[in-house]
């Protein structure tokens, strides 16, 4: 029975990509596929596509901001300003002092966003995988542990931002435990770390949960085979566990990265607006809406959007977040060779998860 599974699994690997065409429902797949995708695409088109297009349009418009000298009123309506909103982002002389020196406010926010994302996602991934590995062990009370790990993530952000505000208060419990008075909520480098701590705490469970689900699909036989071959625990982790959870893990990390790049609630809710050491691009864009400069806000969002898109693209290229198995032809070849090599190796099941080492 067990061998049947073990045999059937690796064959998926060869069923990857081009070989798939031979499967039983290859006729009329295109039409069926589009029918199945239609609801998703429709929802996303209407609820996200149209607003995105409107925002893109908005980013080329601006309202007249000069009040009339006698009535103080501003002429209503917007006019097309071309790329002025975008040009302003990069040429603004509004310099601020942040973690990375004195610079244009936009670049400051850009660096904050990037650094927060890198630091948070790395910490969250390590913590999340650790959580998943521990949760995957069978022991009594596992359900309780799993629920416990969900706690941070289940608390609504508007509540948890406030909770961390309490904890990081100058006279709060964090300083009480540390025995010194760190001004987390002022505007210093410790504010940056306050964000990192609060965010990793809140979202490591997200990666943990998804990774756990990935772990659960690894057949125990693979490990048994590895053990027979004398693989150590570390080898098992790097050679079996990691490659096999990779598709799920990469999706989890990808989505976390995209989310963190757009981080808004924590810097805004916990540290507050106008704090240049934690000001992210989303906060900046929000403040532009608050000042009713919708065009400029949309332009900032566009820039952020493009940045996020770029990161996502690089992510997929470099880490191979290849959930559909459609690699570039060149890469496919490399992979194929790769696979042929490993197929001879004792733990051949690993490769089925797709993606090179």
């Amino acid at each position: 029975m067990a061998t049947a599974t073990a045999v059937s699994k690796p064959s998926t690997a060869t069923g990857d990509g081009h070989k798939r065409k031979k499967n039983a429902f290859s006729d009329g797949q295109g039409r069926l596929a589009w029918m199945l995708l239609a609801p998703t695409l429709l929802v996303i088109f209407v609820m996200a596509g149209i607003p995105v297009v409107m925002s893109i349009r908005e980013s080329f418009f601006a309202n007249d901001n000069a009040p009339d000298p006698t009535t103080g009123l501003i002429k209503q309506g917007e006019s097309f300003v071309g790329i002025k909103n975008f040009a302003q982002i990069f040429t603004s002389t509004d310099v601020v002092q942040g973690n990375w020196g004195t610079m244009n406010r936009f670049w400051n926010a850009f660096l904050n966003t990037s650094m927060i994302t890198i630091v948070c996602v790395v910490i969250e991934t390590v913590l999340g995988v650790a959580m998943a590995l521990i949760m995957s062990k069978a022991f009594r009370g596992r359900g309780f542990v799993r629920a416990g790990i969900l706690v941070p993530w289940a608390i609504p952000t508007i509540v948890s931002a406030l909770m961390w505000k309490l904890i990081f208060d100058a006279n709060g419990v964090m300083n009480k435990i540390l025995g010194q008075q760190i001004l987390w909520l002022s505007d210093t480098f410790s504010s940056f770390w306050a964000i990192v701590i609060a965010d990793s705490w809140k979202t490591a469970p997200f990666i943990g949960l998804l990774t756990l689900a990935g772990l659960q699909t690894i057949p125990a036989e693979v490990y048994e085979a590895a053990k027979v071959d004398g693989a150590s625990a570390i080898q098992q982790f790097t050679q079996i566990t990691l490659p096999m959870v990779k598709p799920t893990l990469v999706v989890a990390v990808l989505f976390r990265t995209l989310d963190t790049l757009r981080m808004f609630d924590l810097p805004y809710g916990m540290i507050g607006p106008g704090k240049y050491r934690v000001e992210t691009l989303s906060v900046f864009a929000y403040q532009e809406t608050q000042a009713t400069r919708f065009g400029s806000a949309a332009a900032y969002s566009m820039v952020l959007f493009i940045y996020v898109l770029l990161v996502a693209y690089l992510f997929v290229r470099v880490l191979g977040a290849d959930v559909i198995g459609e690699k570039a032809p060149k890469k496919k070849k490399v992979k194929k060779n790769d696979r042929n090599d490993t197929q001879a190796a004792p733990v051949s099941g690993i490769e089925l998860a797709g993606g090179a080492h």
């Binding site: 290859s26 609820m47 409107m54 069978a138 608390i155 509540v159 689900a213 057949p219 799920t248």
Partner: protein, 306 residues
């Protein structure tokens, strides 16, 4: 039925993996280490929550106190949460309806899309995945104004139904935010399952749809369940959209209700009441997860041990 047999084979493998503690090193050290690690992680996750509970049990005017136990303890904050004008009970019901509907619809819609992406061959597959993800990359805060214009029939959306103060007015945007993750995630899971299982099922006379429903979905249960939790919590915790589109006090969700908590004046942030509300909205969620996941694990076990 062959399909059934295959299913059981795999289930059993799963179950073996689930139920058997793996002992890579000396069993005792491993067990101790994993218990210590487990304890550390649980403590790490729960300590701030403990602080939330303690803070909720203080006197309302002592929100900023730092004593490790509430002194004097008080349930005033919890009473405050449910005091008449907050309309909190109603908000909880709204939250359950909205998050529940979002989760179910996201899963149904997302699963068929993921199935297409994982199993079917067609042109433009990569493009579809990218479009799905790209739309979720736009900063949400800037999408709110266009959506608001749409739902309130402001120019140029006179043709759109009036969706302010309706459940669909928030459920549909939530779907758009939840679907990308659901589709990507489920696609990754479905792809991990051997296609031969479906073939076998179809040889036995199942249609592709049946094969999907009876073979793939149960086997991908951990992934489906995890996705469900993620989507549910995402909707449950959302604030800005709910605040903007659900203007009627009887329609508002729990997070919106919490944002309206206030002290006796405009200045005193009612930390205690907000923490109490946080506890109230978090605990049922955890209970549901506890109950739910047992059932899923149990379901798998029942299928395998025969």
């Amino acid at each position: 039925m062959a399909a059934g047999v295959v299913e059981h084979h795999l289930s059993q493998a799963e179950v073996a993996q689930l139920a058997k503690p793996r002992r890579p090193l000396g069993a005792k050290i491993g067990v101790v280490a994993s218990y210590v690690g487990m304890a550390l992680i649980v403590i790490y996750c729960i300590l701030p929550f403990y602080w939330m509970i303690v803070s909720s049990l203080r006197l309302p005017s002592m929100g900023l106190s730092t004593s490790f136990l509430p002194d004097p303890p008080s349930i005033e904050n919890f009473k405050g949460v449910f005091s008449g004008q907050n309309n909190f009970g109603r908000s909880l019901i709204n939250s359950v309806i909205i998050s529940g509907a979002t989760t179910i619809i996201t899963l149904l819609v997302g699963m068929v899309a993921a199935y297409a992406l994982a199993r079917l061959q067609f042109k433009g597959k990569g493009g579809v995945l990218w479009i799905i993800m790209a739309c979720s990359m736009f900063p949400q805060i800037t999408l709110i104004v266009p959506l608001l214009k749409m739902f309130s029939q402001t120019d140029p959306f006179e043709w759109f139904p009036y969706w302010i103060n309706t459940y669909q007015g928030v459920i549909l945007p939530y779907l758009a935010f939840g679907l990308p993750l659901a589709v990507w995630n489920l696609t990754a899971f479905f792809r991990q399952l051997p296609v031969e299982l479906e073939h076998a099922a179809m040889v036995d006379g199942c249609t592709p749809g049946q094969a999907f429903r009876k073979v793939i979905v149960p086997l991908a249960a951990p992934g489906v369940f995890t996705t469900a939790i993620i989507v549910f919590i995402g909707a449950w915790n959302e604030f800005l959209i709910a605040l903007t589109f659900l203007q009627d006090a009887n329609m508002q969700t729990a997070t919106v209700a919490i944002s309206k908590f206030t002290g006796t004046t405009g200045f005193d942030t009612p930390y205690g009441t907000i923490m109490a509300a946080g506890v109230i909205v978090t605990v049922p969620l955890l209970a549901a997860v506890l109950i739910f996941q047992r059932r899923i694990v149990a379901g798998l076990t029942a299928g395998g041990v025969k």
